[in-house]
């Protein structure tokens, strides 16, 4: 086969190649036609993401490795890539309404999201520290720009700058950790590190701590969460929806892959860190969300808390724990995208509104919207029999089986506390006096809301497909 470069097979990277080359082709269309073609470019971008997802599924089954082991496609990577691509495609759909306004026309928006998605896919497939770092930077750099994309808006530029400065700091920590790990093991590949780090040494643990600090920043886990509320609030709402979905999946994927495949010999050491980070994130997500007035800030604290719950599964360090993480992140993705579809749909007199009091009386003005939002919020809170309950159930079960009883108990407690602020929104929607009708939501928002809402409501009827796929994906790491 001639389908190779410098002796390496290109087959495993076909989805990434299609996405990257497609993004550059769209860039050319935009550069020659100007901002008039924003709608066309965004539509084609959605199409490209769908093609990339189809290609991920089309790849031959089993474990494909290329570029000397720096690029791995296994069932885990396939699962995470499909989730990431779903997040990106839905965000691009969300952004259609946003960039439709003449003042916000910007074809680069879709291209940056596409290139960021390429970075996420590289990150998910990373088999060594260098491709981990390159994927992370490609993902983040595009995110900094889209956060600041409303450059005439003070909050948006502040969000972009804040994210950029703190992101650069976290990249520095991650690189420092990577260089320590390289220094103490003599290799950058995860398999090589695992082989060299059987016993573990002080220096290696030091490097591991810095590496995990950098990764915690990307999944916005406490104590590296400071940027999250400000960036979520300041960035344009479709961008916030993107931040809360696809990059979280990719960063969590690499978190799992790095700890499970590169440091299986020193599980004890990283387990302590992950347990602490998980407890702190769950607690902060539960308590700090209570006083929020702005729905986007609330979603930021909600996402911090949810990352904590997902890390509970990782802390278990077992195949069951990994399966729990995968199920959790899949369900989290649907809940978040659905909730953001509602937030994007809220507008009065042509102005987007984003405070919680604006939800008042939504059940009377838009009963269907209010019903779906209520179901998604119950799911986020983890009320059975909605999907969110099962997500938490699997991670806590894995933690109990691994003997982490304190962690599981603290998790359940913070889940109960966190339920308060989701219930407040439901109370505002159903029992407060309406303050004027909302404008009708765009078609794509309604479609996303219907799909995610029905998924969350009916998951308990037939959960087997997702659980089975997640089990397969988790097995491929061990």
């Amino acid at each position: 086969m001639g389908f190779e470069i410098a002796g390496y097979s290109l087959l495993p990277v076909v989805p990434e190649l299609v996405l990257a080359v497609g993004a550059m082709a769209l860039l050319m269309i935009g550069a020659y036609r100007g901002d008039r073609v924003t709608g066309l470019v965004t539509g084609l971008a959605v199409f490209l993401v769908v093609i990339a997802a189809a290609l991920v599924l089309w790849l031959p089954p089993g474990r494909l490795v290329t570029f000397n082991g720096s690029f791995i496609v296994d069932d885990f990577a396939r699962f995470m890539k499909i989730l990431t691509l779903t997040g990106s495609a839905v965000t691009l759909l969300f952004s259609r309404g946003f960039v439709a306004a003449a003042t916000r026309r910007m074809f680069e928006f879709a291209i940056l999201i596409l290139l960021s998605t390429v970075g996420m896919m590289v990150l998910i497939s990373a088999g060594d520290l260098i491709s981990l770092y390159l994927g992370l930077e490609l993902m983040s750099l595009a995110l900094y720009v889209v956060a600041a994309s409303q450059r005439d808006n003070l909050k948006s530029t502040e969000a972009g700058l804040k994210y950029f400065v703190l992101g650069a700091l976290s990249s520095g920590m991650l690189l420092y950790g990577a260089s320590l790990i390289y220094g103490f093991t003599g290799t950058v590949s995860f398999a090589g590190i695992a082989a060299a780090a059987k016993s573990g040494s002080l220096g290696l643990v030091f490097g591991l701590v810095f590496l995990l600090a950098g990764l915690c920043f990307k999944v916005s886990a406490v104590p590296f969460h400071m940027w999250t509320p400000d960036v979520y609030e300041g960035a344009p709402t479709p961008v916030t929806a993107f931040f809360a979905s696809a990059p979280k999946v990719a960063a969590l994927a690499v978190f799992v892959r790095a700890t499970m495949t590169a440091f299986p010999g020193i599980t004890q050491e990283w387990q302590q860190i992950v347990v602490f980070v998980a407890i702190a994130s769950m607690a902060l997500g539960a308590f700090a969300g209570i006083g929020q007035r702005n729905i986007k800030r609330l979603m930021a604290y909600s996402s911090i808390g949810h990352m904590g719950f997902a890390l509970v599964g990782l802390a278990a360090g077992t195949p069951e724990g990994t399966q729990g993480v995968l199920v959790y992140i899949a369900i989290y993705l649907t809940m978040t995208l659905g909730a953001f579809a509602v937030i994007l749909a809220l507008s009065r007199h042509g102005e987007a509104v984003e405070t919680i009091s604006d939800f008042a009386g939504l059940s009377r003005t838009n009963p269907l919207l209010a019903f779906f939002m209520a179901m998604l919020l119950f799911s986020l809170a983890g009320v059975p029999p909605l999907a969110g309950f099962f997500a938490k159930f699997y991670v806590f079960l894995a933690a109990m089986k691994a003997g982490l009883f304190t962690l599981a108990v603290l998790g359940v407690l913070s889940s109960v506390i966190g339920a308060y602020y989701y219930l407040v929104i439901i109370k505002v929607m159903y029992f407060d006096e309406p303050i004027g009708a909302m404008e009708p939501a765009r078609g794509e928002l309604r479609a996303v809301l219907a799909v995610t809402g029905l998924f969350n409501m009916l998951f308990f009827v037939y959960p087997a497909p997702l659980i089975d796929v997640a089990t397969l994906a988790a097995k491929s790491l061990f």
Partner: protein, 207 residues
């Protein structure tokens, strides 16, 4: 030999000292000049390690391009650095404390460091014995490391798109040169012949 050790300490001390002066200097132009000194000393350290390609790249790229760009920015932009540095002394004690703890911990790690003999064997792409390291890099950069090379290229593309998105503004009321318009001008559209009666001038000017 004692010379490599002497040069190592010379370069290292100067590097750390000038790095400190970068943040301590009152005049921003001095800061940038100290930054250049730090870069040159770092490249000296690379030379001592036998990495002559990195040493030269550091001088060419960082001293030649980046630092000069910094100088331009510092001189062209009217940034009040004294005001920016207001909080510096206030944060210094805490920052120094954190740095001291980190340094102590790192020394503990470094002290315990014994090079694992397996590590030396595990080097993925050892430098071939009889070529310079520029050549050695060239041998693997576009073949073995093609994946990283291409990814780094996409990162740079994103940086470029980002810079354009965030800074380019098309102002509507600016007169721009349009070469097609200029070429399309004909005698009929560009000039007008009028008879001017003597002593009266034109009522209205053309255009």
């Amino acid at each position: 030999m004692i010379f490599p050790a002497l040069f190592f300490y010379l370069f290292a001390v100067l590097c750390v000292g000038s790095a400190f002066m970068v943040i301590a200097a009152r005049n921003p132009v001095h800061s940038v000049l100290f930054l250049i000194l730090a870069f040159v000393n770092a490249s000296g350290l690379f030379l001592l390690m036998g990495a002559e390609f990195l040493a030269m790249i550091l001088v060419v790229v960082y001293v030649g391009a980046v630092a000069v760009l910094f100088l331009f920015v510092v001189m062209m932009l009217d940034v009040d650095f004294a005001e920016l540095k207001q909080g510096f002394l206030q944060y210094l004690p805490v920052g120094a404390l954190v740095a001291a703890i980190l340094l102590a911990e790192l020394m503990m790690v470094g002290g315990a460091w014994v090079i694992n003999p397996a590590v030396v064997k595990a080097v993925v792409a050892p430098i071939p014995g009889n070529v310079t390291n520029t050549e050695a890099l060239g041998l693997v950069l576009y073949t073995r490391y093609i994946h990283y090379f291409q990814l780094a290229g996409i990162v740079l593309l994103v940086a470029m798109i980002g810079a354009i998105v965030l800074t380019l503004r098309h102002k509507p009321n600016i007169k721009r040169q349009s070469i097609p318009d200029q070429v399309a001008r004909t005698k009929a559209t560009a000039m007008e012949v009028r008879k001017v009666a003597s002593g009266q001038g034109l009522k209205e000017t053309a255009q």
